[in-house]
Subunit: 535 residues, 2 copies
């Protein structure tokens, strides 16, 4: 059933009419204590504070109407129930289910079978793969599977790119504090040969496993790096088949038991950027963090998935965030979103979200093949605070270019070890800065010196949890995954394909043929190769 | 002497009139072999290919006029000659010289004393600090300075934030392939206590040096981390004064010989984001990469600084890039710039440039204290290719939001080790992708399937060098530093202060006082602290 795009809803016109009267956060009577207390939604261990967004109850009401008119939550149910939601009506497209939610729908106490619909086979498959992974990891731990000398494995190198790299790496770094002793994970992604060579330089290959991840089994960068790494194993007198495992689609060119210790499976209906809850995350995180921690991570995701089915946006955190984001993007015309976690462990989380968001919603065609007349996904970027405060925050505070900000923080540090310096702990300093930045962007500051004026009125949210643990990490990631999906559903774009990567691939192959003398390039391409000094 | 701001020049109106006729890169007759060969400028080992920018000779001519009218190169000479260029006329401001160029003006064969002017004392100081650093590193190598057991030091932990962290870390990662055996560098920056604890977890403190970097000697995060790390040394029975060195301003609270093995100096006239060529980069890179490599890095910078004095923008790479960036930002209204290095070693280079650019040019007040009526510094972000191709490139290719792109590549890999897979090497695949993306963004592609259309006409540049070496890394960094300065000079903003960081600091102290019970917060702040669950 075709659904309205954003601009076809009654709420769109209503929201446009409300832009002129959007609250001015610089007025102390606006950003008052009552507003700050009231504009808070809490679920699954997180508090979303949004008094520093430029919304009021009327705007929030119109945003809720927008969600209702576009049936955003009903569509999320359709996704979770396994309907074919990766499609564009009337045009050739992937035409697939969108099944990443099934990968974490594996907990009896969190089951909602009445909602599962067509997703049941994938839920069963997810359980089966988790059981296979558990058996494999136990065989490693118990010494049933060892290297040729009978030693256990200490390291695993993940070879993948895009979704098979960014998500698992971001989560590994986020949760490294919980890693069992004696297990380390490493990541090789770039086809740049310096990447693999740098990672391998520090490893004892004889005690290293390699996890090769490619859904299609044909990703050029990954296969190239696999070959490069395998040749190093052979040079060291080691048999890659005794050290390599893979994660791939059933029946892909990589699904070859002779080449791998084990093959774990992922599925066509799971996009790479949403695959961290599948075996794509499972194998490397199960080894690197322990399977219990990976299961806790999945639990956190499942809990937030269930929260995404609430119809009231004040109870549904990812829907609320999606609507606030649409308000900023389409009505306040803010082109970018900075994700600013006040947690060093989340150092690569913004990079993963950058992929997840921009690859999902960097689209200009709606689900009926029509060009959309409104802005879609923002440019997402960010670095941890307080570091960013000493870097790019200058622009956020004092440029005319307004940047929407998502601040993320935790009341407790991960590792505990802390110290009182000048009467406060590091964690207190970190949190004071987090709150201060949110307030400073909103309130601004006047001054007789124009160079010391802060324009203010800059929208931002604060998302706060107790502590970054495996479970809360899962919750946080699912919050963003579902937020991105809600935005795509409301914009009526297909968030689940990625046709934008195709043209570059075709042209790269033409240029590669020219570089290696297999075929002549057209005159412009030949001129470029020559100008670049490659001929 | 007051200079015109961008909109006050004759070239501004001329450029505005040329927007409508800016070349359409989708037309094969536009992006032809002749254009590609002609639109190339080369200097100091780099080729800047800009046929894929939306400029023609008329636009380039007007951009040159813009540089001439604003006396951009003459102003760059003033900077290098030590005039007080960090100032805003008529208002309280830092009122300083801008002396980072002096830090690399230390080579007899690259000397241009007639240009040095007031910078001579800083040039002499830079030479002196380099000599002191050399003596210190030699004392470490020769075993004259050891730990209490007489062992040499193997690791150095850099404690700094912002400019005292991002630049040195980005360059260390970029050049790690050239590091001498047995020397490793590490970086602690965030006040989040998990950051220091994570770095220290892997180290033998008895063989570790710590380099504490703060120009003012009072950076909260850095002093806090210093205390935290020092307490760990004491717990391990080690004397911090025998393991710690510092880089700070002469006479700062940190300039205390009793506390440090050595104090190295930096200067008020060097902004943190431009300080990597000072001892801020020198100590950690000299230890981690070897002093010869650091000197080569400075040589590369110096060569590019000299190139920045060419008045013809076709010969002056950083001026040309600055003008192309202004064309994209102010005339084509593109809000962001993606920096996309096809080199995994440059994994943190975009993060450093993000700081350097956004902290310098994220301003809305000109050098006479007037609000500027045009856009200034873009939002700068990026990740290495080919990785990004599997992530955010979807948006770059198919969203309506146009992103300007700087592609960076090298004809040869750093580490050499490479492998032929499917008839081509990894390096060839990397370069084929680099060229392909530039072409694909420019040319676009039509299709009967709207979801497979690529709008094209998206401006980008290619910057290509032979190999990423210490010297070319320096050249590349100085290229961007000088590009950023040229843009600030043409916009007539002060690129060298950072008032935008102040308000957050003030508010953070207020909140910290409330969190630790030292003082009551105002009602709104108190409500925020409560809403965040911190009370």
């Amino acid at each position: 059933m075709p659904r309205p795009s954003l601009h076809e809803t009654a709420a769109f016109a209503k929201l446009q009419s409300l832009v002129a009267s959007a609250p001015d956060l610089r007025q102390p009577e606006t950003l008052n204590a009552g507003r700050i207390a009231a504009m808070k939604s809490s679920a699954v261990g997180f508090d979303l504070l949004f008094a520093t967004q430029r919304v009021d109850n009327q705007i929030l009401g119109a945003l809720q109407s927008l969600a209702d008119e576009t049936e955003a939550v009903a569509q999320m149910r359709q996704i979770m129930a396994g309907e074919v939601m990766n499609r564009i009506e009337g045009f050739d497209c992937e035409n697939r289910q969108v099944m990443h939610h099934a990968m974490r729908n594996v907990f009896a106490d969190l089951a909602r079978p009445e909602l599962d619909g067509e997703s049941e086979p994938l839920i069963a498959a997810a359980r089966e793969e988790l059981a296979r992974l558990e058996a494999f990891l136990e065989a490693l731990d118990s010494g049933k599977i060892t290297n040729a000398k009978g030693e256990t494995f200490t390291d695993m190198v993940n070879i993948g790119i895009g979704g098979s790299d960014l998500g698992p790496k971001a989560i590994y770094l986020a949760l490294k504090a919980y890693a069992p002793a004696g297990h380390r994970a490493h990541f090789v992604s770039n086809v740049d040969p310096d990447d693999a060579n740098e990672v391998l330089a520090g490893l004892d290959l004889s005690r290293t496993l390699v996890n090769v991840v490619s859904k299609s089994g044909s990703t050029l960068e990954t296969l190239t790096n696999e070959e490069l790494v395998a040749s190093r194993f052979r040079q060291a007198g080691l048999d890659p088949a005794k050290h390599f495992v893979c994660v791939t689609g059933k029946g892909s060119p990589m699904d070859n038991p002779a080449k791998y210790l084990r093959a774990f499976y992922m599925y066509d209906s799971i996009g790479g950027r949403y695959s961290v809850s599948s075996m794509v995350g499972g194998v490397i995180l199960g080894f690197g963090l322990g399977l219990d921690n990976f299961r806790q991570f999945l639990r956190g995701m499942r809990k937030m998935d269930l929260n995404a089915l609430e119809t009231d946006s004040r109870r549904n955190l990812s829907l609320l965030a999606a609507l606030l984001g649409i308000w900023n993007r389409d009505f306040l015309a803010i082109p970018t979103l900075a994700v600013l976690p006040y947690s060093q462990a989340l150092s690569r989380f913004a990079a993963h979200l950058q992929q997840c968001d921009m690859e999902s919603n960097g689209k200009r065609i709606d689900r009926r093949g029509r060009a959309v007349p409104f802005a879609t996904g923002p440019i997402v970027w960010g670095e941890p605070g307080t570091n960013g405060q000493h870097a790019f925050y200058q622009l956020i505070h004092q440029s005319e270019t307004v940047v929407a900000c998502d601040f993320i923080g935790f009341r407790e540090s991960q590792r505990g070890a802390d110290l009182q310096v000048k009467g406060s702990s590091s964690q207190e300093k970190l949190l004071a800065n987090l709150l201060a930045q949110s307030l400073a962007l909103a309130s601004g500051k006047s001054s007789d010196n124009p160079n010391k004026q802060f324009p203010g009125n800059r929208p931002n949210s604060l998302l706060i949890g107790r502590q970054l643990t495996p479970e809360s990490m899962g919750t946080l990631l699912a919050f963003y995954e579902n937020k991105i999906s809600f935005q795509g559903l409301i914009w009526n774009i297909n968030s689940f394909d990625q046709e934008g990567v195709q043209l570059g691939k075709v042209l790269a192959n033409e240029i590669l043929d020219a570089l290696t003398g297999k075929a002549a390039a057209n005159p412009a391409t030949a001129a470029l190769i020559e100008a670049a000094g490659l001929k």
